[in-house]
Symmetry: C2
């Protein structure tokens, strides 16, 4: 087997989601995932620390995209405008294949408490990355935390809508719309 494996990470993700869907998450081993992907276990562990992390591979990338998007917003941007720009950056990085994976990914996570805990922690880390980036712009607490929470909620709600088979709209467009709705709800709190 060649030392350089083209698209090894994506092949492992595809194989894992297929196997988790076919035979369940708990019944699937790293060896089976590697074999289905046509790769070795050694290659698997060069990309992921274990089978669980395949499902949360995006955490670091999304955290960085959120933070970079906020940092790149003009100085004049209000906190929620900076969050909207971060959502633009992060959602634009998603591929149509990630959209196709969506419903199966959600089904695997929904069936397993450990994965739900991991998903909750991913949301906490995304919110922390945005909160830090907003603090660096001089946004005080608790406004930075609140704006970051709205961003994470908008991201999650837009993802759920985007991966629906009947969905016709872009992830970016849906995330902008969800953020606007959350903002309107925040202003209506009274």
């Amino acid at each position: 087997m060649a030392r350089w494996e083209p698209n090894a990470q994506l092949r492992l993700v595809r194989a894992a989601i297929d196997l988790f869907t076919e035979q369940g998450y708990d019944s699937t081993t790293v060896a089976q995932i590697a074999e289905r992907a046509g790769l070795t276990k050694t290659t698997f562990f060069r990309h992921f620390p274990g089978k669980r992390e395949i499902l949360f591979a995006g955490q670091e990338v999304h955290s960085r995209l959120f933070a970079d998007g906020i940092a790149a917003a003009p100085d004049s941007a209000a906190p929620l405008e900076a969050v909207a720009m971060a959502l633009d950056t992060a959602t634009a990085a998603f591929t149509s294949e990630q959209r196709d994976f969506g419903p199966r990914l959600q089904a695997v996570i929904a069936a397993n408490t450990d994965l739900q805990e991991r998903a909750a922690f991913k949301a906490v880390r995304l919110a922390a990355a945005m909160t830090d980036a907003l603090r660096k712009r001089g946004v005080p607490e608790p406004a930075a935390i609140l704006a970051a929470d709205l961003g994470v909620r908008a991201f999650g709600r837009a993802f759920d809508r985007w991966v629906e088979p009947s969905s016709q709209r872009s992830f970016t467009e849906l995330a902008r719309e969800e953020l606007q709705e959350l903002r309107a709800a925040a202003l209506a709190l009274g």
Copy 2:
């Protein structure tokens, strides 16, 4: 050993937090916790499914108190007023011993990724309990989700302040104050 063990659950929590602090979470076994509490492993497993759940024993109780507090709010109460009443109910149930445990509990969780994931999931469950209770009052989405998120944030931030050794104020008072600050930040989003 008597079949009826007075305060068994609290004795197990005390023993667990002492042992986790003394020798670390990973090095502590259920048998050690039971022994320190003067109880058997069988008694332990009557109260908790495992050592990890000792640290999150409050999740079900707090979820119920939050939901009950929201349900008990008068029909005229706005969503965030209902959340404030839920915080009153939930925070009033905390004892001074829980306050004393606070810093050690936080240190144990901060040192362990698995416990941080579990804590994130607890926050998700508390928010879901409040969101459901708000929906039952007719609060639409995403206002129900937003109000619940503010409640969970206020609860967590107030807890952190309450357990500081120098703190002089009640948990309830701090939670009310944090909720007010988050509300003000929401209205200032513009």
